[in-house]
């Protein structure tokens, strides 16, 4: 039986932390992204707020880039001429709007060892807040199932698919969890539990006030980064990199990544530090990647 790839419910906070891709071998074999909690994703179903939408292509070759935010972070969605249906729908939407996206996973590896994930949409549709809330709840449930499976795997000396299935987890999840254990080593389950707790509070009016106060801080940075944050210095670096990107963008198509890497060496930044800065700028919506390997100011 050919079964259709299921549409996973996953939060941006979990999806964007993924850097393991399993490429299908042979014709038409599907590829998967394995998240730190072991979701083995080929297709996703997302509902969130469309916050930004730009067409960075032109004419016959449109390329829409969209940012979709959920209570835990931002999904990056890009849709071009080969996604005619999604592209046509996106082009008519005015952000902000609640939208639902069914899409396929995509990765981008600017160099060995770094993997960025995004979504290529198959279907895009406008929905309402009620459907968004229901998606958040479903995604909480689904995330909790993965946390439980991962917790069971961590209790095993060597986690195996069969043992996990015996404990009542589905085979698909068990396979993903075993792969995630090997790749991500020690996954911080506390972070994901906290993410689910935050998302559930987001649905409940009695918590709404606290949430709004906390939100900007939570949205902007990952918890791990918070600790070693040296805010002033970072802002400074961001401005330097931003200026550099503007200077190197000689033909309006964006600054080539390799040149940025070379130039920032003078500022005393290595590649990893640069990535942190550009990621932060991408998150803040101050730069974007018009094409792979190029950065451009917004």
């Amino acid at each position: 039986m050919i079964s259709r790839e299921v549409a996973w419910r996953v939060f941006a906070g979990e999806y964007n932390s993924s850097n393991l891709e399993i490429k299908g071998e042979g014709e038409r074999a599907p590829s998967y992204i394995v998240t730190p909690l072991g979701a083995m994703i080929n297709r996703v179903f997302l509902v969130g707020v469309l916050t930004d939408l730009d067409n960075i292509g032109a004419g016959e070759e449109p390329l829409w880039r969209a940012r979709l935010s959920d209570p835990t972070g931002t999904f990056y969605v890009s849709s071009g001429q080969y996604q005619p249906e999604a592209t046509a729908t996106l082009s008519k939407i005015e952000p902000p709007a609640f939208i639902a996206v069914v899409g396929k996973t995509r990765t981008y590896s600017p160099e060995e060892g770094t993997v960025y994930v995004s979504i290529r949409p198959e279907k895009v549709t406008i929905v309402d807040a009620g459907i968004r809330d229901y998606w958040v709840l479903e995604t909480c449930r689904s995330t909790l199932k993965r946390i439980a499976a991962m917790a069971d795997a961590k209790d095993m000396a060597v986690p195996t698919v069969d043992e996990l299935v015996k404990l009542g987890h589905t085979r698909v999840l068990a396979e993903g969890v075993v792969k995630a254990c090997e790749h991500y080593k020690d996954v911080d389950l506390g972070r994901y539990r906290a993410m689910v707790v935050d998302a559930l509070r987001y649905l409940l009016p009695e918590y709404r006030r606290d949430q709004e106060a906390e939100m900007p801080r939570e949205m902007a940075t990952n918890p791990e980064e918070l600790e070693e944050e040296e805010e002033a210095k970072e802002v400074d670096r961001e401005e330097q990199v931003l200026a550099l990107i503007a200077v190197l963008d000689k033909n309006g198509k964006g600054a080539p990544w390799d040149q940025i890497v070379d130039e920032v060496k003078r500022l005393g930044l290595d590649k990893t530090a640069l990535e942190e800065v550009t990621n932060s700028l991408l998150d803040k919506g101050m730069i974007y990647e018009p094409v792979l390997g190029r950065m451009k100011r917004i």
Binding site: A7, R141, L204
Partner: protein, 442 residues
């Protein structure tokens, strides 16, 4: 290929050659074929055996697989199985009578129907475990079937080398008690207590003359099942009965309960609650349905993630009701198509997906457009696809609850929908209870 890797193949070739040839010579031959002439391992092994005077067909060419992995197109496959049932049958072959065996075999992941084309050669015993080599599969009724022909070999294994999930195993201690939701393909000697919802007698023409079969629907608290009684037990709708010695066969993935003359049927005083409660469809997850293959009158929840091509305003052949494309029916050629509305929606619950087929009435109700209106709109727009667009706008991304019978074939699960509702389940109370659960454990 390294020497170490060659070793198992060398000993296999030695076995096929009756251990009469020195393994060193075999290794040298094999090495030449593989590393000098660079032919495939399979070809190399066959050539070596042939060269050294053996029968290459005796080689284990198959790859060990699980039953669940079989597609029905394997030319040669190895399996470790437990034999669940063995039946004998006489067939005519080239004017001679020959006895063959057929029945069911299972491994940890599933079961399969088999035919062993020689009862003498394959002395399979019920409940025993065998390593089968060089069998082949064929597809029949869209299910793979295993065949053991003269090329195949069987090797008995210790009984404890295979542990089957309890429900699938040979009923070694007599009958299996089951509820409707537990019924699965291949179960035998089932004892079940249920209430007859409907029953209808019909006459069948069989090679042994006309036969009467009584079929209908039964239910218990877990769900509904179609049944066929191959004997007149005087069943009436409303009867609460205990059946002993029933067996399960599936039709398009739906498990069906069968019982014949030798089965025991008794009336029971067991109460099944109100008929209304009993006839309500039961909520099932799509993943659960996928593992069984189908079900009668169930409820499924999910989100509409796709509206398939062929949804919306369609035209059907007035004679055979098949879809008319570009004014042509596949069977009747150029016809004047009759308009109809339908939706083929993919419903996905995050764990599995099924295709739900919604008819005209349900489509009109869900989308809020009548067939007459769709015809008019399509005419105005000069494009029948405007209706499909409308359906997409209304349904994509929305939570949905659908009710109906679920079947499966090579393209996956399908539900013929009898009722559908687009509704967003209540979120807050569940969010609050999940939250208190989580905060309680932290």
């Amino acid at each position: 290929m390294e020497k170490q890797e060659l070793a198992p193949h060398v000993s296999e070739i030695a076995r096929v050659l009756g251990n009469k040839i020195d393994e060193k010579d075999i290794e040298k031959e094999l090495d030449t074929y593989l590393n000098l002439y660079r032919v495939s391992l399979e070809t190399a092994k066959r050539s070596v055996v042939r060269k050294l005077g053996g029968d290459p067909n005796a080689l284990t060419m198959g790859v060990r697989k699980l039953i669940a992995e079989l597609s029905g197109t394997e030319m040669s496959v190895d399996l470790l199985v437990k034999v669940l049932t063995v039946n004998h049958k006489d067939i005519e072959q080239n004017g001679e009578t020959k006895q063959i065996l057929y029945g069911l075999m299972a491994d940890e992941g599933g079961s399969i129907a088999y035919t062993a084309w020689d009862a003498e050669r394959f002395q399979l015993e019920r409940g025993k475990v065998y390593l089968i080599r060089n069998a082949y599969t064929k597809e029949w009724n869209s299910q793979p079937q295993l065949n053991l022909s003269t090329r195949a070999t069987i090797e008995p294994q210790p009984d404890d080398s295979m542990k089957l999930p309890e429900r699938m195993d040979v009923p070694s201690y007599g009958p299996t008690n089951a509820t409707v939701v537990e019924l699965k393909e291949g179960m035998n000697n089932v004892t079940i207590t249920a209430k007859v919802i409907s029953v209808e007698g019909r006459k069948l023409e069989t090679p042994n003359g006309p036969k009467q079969v009584f079929s209908g629907i039964m239910a218990d608290a877990t769900g509904k099942v179609q049944f066929s009684a191959w004997h007149d037990f005087g069943l009436k709708s409303g009867d609460a009965i205990v059946i002993r010695g029933a067996y399960v066969r599936t039709w398009r993935g739906i498990p069906q309960l069968n019982f014949g003359e030798r089965a025991g049927v008794e009336r029971t005083k067991t109460s099944f609650g109100s008929d209304q409660e009993l006839s309500k469809p039961k909520l099932r997850s799509i993943g659960e349905l996928e593992s069984i293959g189908g079900a009668v009158d169930v409820l499924v929840r999910g989100v509409v993630v796709d509206i398939k091509k062929g949804s919306g305003l369609i035209f059907r052949c007035p004679q055979c009701k098949r879809l008319v494309q570009k004014g042509l029916c596949r069977i009747h050629g150029k016809v004047d198509g009759q308009p109809d509305l339908r939706i083929k929606a993919v419903v996905d619950d995050g764990m599995a997906a099924l295709t739900a087929v919604l008819n005209k009435d349900i489509t009109e109700m869900l989308v809020g457009i009548t067939l007459a209106e769709s015809l008019r709109e399509a005419k105005e727009a000069m494009n029948p696809e405007v209706v499909e667009e409308k359906i997409k706008d209304r349904m994509l991304g929305k939570p949905i609850e659908v009710r109906g019978n679920v079947t499966s074939d090579e393209y996956g699960l399908m539900m013929i929908v009898t009722e559908a509702e687009l509704k967003v389940p209540e979120v807050r109370s569940e969010a609050a209870s999940l939250l208190s659960e989580l905060e309680g454990t932290q």
